[in-house]
């Protein structure tokens, strides 16, 4: 004897589940956006993250420092000789550099434009762009150290890399100028032509400018400032024969991936 069974009609259940599947996530997102819009909760989040990032950095640097032990002796000797040669070349240039730097500072002092009053604060980089996708850094100094939103961030006292966008008690978020869409005024070439550079991500920038302005590969790009600085070096110039404009592509000399410390230029409002 053949038996027929009614198939269970799941349409209603599916529709109900479908509604739930949208309502719950939407509610969760709205709830968390509201919670993490409060500065206190954001501060708590960064306070939790700070020790974790420090531990991670310690572990990474431990392994990075000890990788050399695994290299062969011949390789280490070769590298050692190469570095010695490099040091001897650099030390000769360093003498001239120090002399010019001293002269520059003396002249500024005579003209009343010395850097006295300009306060730099050293910060350790907790998170770099490799980890953060966005071109942002997280550093271990915050409002308790005098950092405020908008403070400029430098490397080696002469290379601007970004600005502070969010400040918490003991941490701050820095947006790199190379972050896609970020804009910064720069001076290009020997004639110091002022243009707006646009970040392309990964420490790269582009500037659109008329072809009449002579720029060549290797030209230095600086940020308007009283102190001597290097913001980038022209890597490539692109243009079409029919266009009157050219696109100058340049890169910041700082290797963000190897960055350990940054200097925050504190404002002198206090």
């Amino acid at each position: 004897m053949k038996m027929n069974f009614h198939l269970r009609n799941n349409n209603f259940l599916i529709r109900e589940n479908g509604k739930k599947s949208i309502i719950f996530p939407t509610f969760a997102i709205v709830f968390f956006i509201l919670v993490f819009s409060i500065p206190w909760s954001r501060n708590l989040l960064f306070s939790v993250g700070s020790p974790l990032w420090s531990i991670k950095n310690s572990v990474v640097s431990f392994f990075a420092d000890n990788v050399a032990v695994l290299n062969s002796k011949t390789d280490i000797l070769k590298e050692n000789n190469l570095l010695k040669e490099q040091i001897s070349v650099n030390s000769k240039e360093q003498v001239l550099f120090d002399l010019l730097k001293k002269e520059n500072e003396d002249l500024k002092f005579i003209l009343g434009r010395n850097k006295v009053g300009q306060k730099l604060l050293l910060g350790t980089v907790l998170v770099k762009p490799f980890l953060s996708t966005y071109d942002t850094l997280i550093i271990d100094v915050g409002s308790l150290n005098g950092v405020t939103v908008g403070n400029k961030v430098m490397v080696d006292d002469n290379t601007f890399i970004g600005y502070v966008s969010e400040v918490y008690d003991n941490t701050s978020k820095v947006i790199l100028y190379s972050s896609p869409g970020e804009k910064i005024k720069v001076l290009i070439g020997d004639n110091n032509v002022e243009k707006e550079a646009v970040g392309l991500g990964g420490n790269n920038f582009k500037v659109e400018m008329p072809r009449e302005i002579g720029v060549k590969e290797g030209d230095t790009i600086i940020v308007p400032s009283i102190s001597a600085n290097v913001f980038g070096v022209v890597e490539k110039i692109e243009f079409k024969e029919s266009d009157s404009f050219q696109t100058v592509l340049f890169k910041n000399p700082v290797n963000i991936a190897e960055l350990k410390w940054v200097e925050i230029l504190l404002s002198n409002k206090k």
Partner: protein, 87 residues
Amino acid sequence: MIRIFLNIILILSIFILPVYVSVVLIFISVFLFKNFIEAIIFGFLIDTLYGSGTILGIHFAYFFTAIIFIFFLISFKFKKMLRTSFH
């Protein structure tokens, strides 16, 4: 229990591992677990911690939240299709 353990791993991964790795882990978790709503919260955490407010030149602060939310919704349909094909 496994779910709680995975949640802890995912939270730690957001802080310690590169974002790409965390996002892949979140995607896998969405497929492995039913109604893995935590995924959206993790997306939001990534945006809150590392976000610059701009992604690919567009002002949008919640890129990963949006991506994971869309993936979460798609996963419902996909899981249903898989169930249909296996049964």
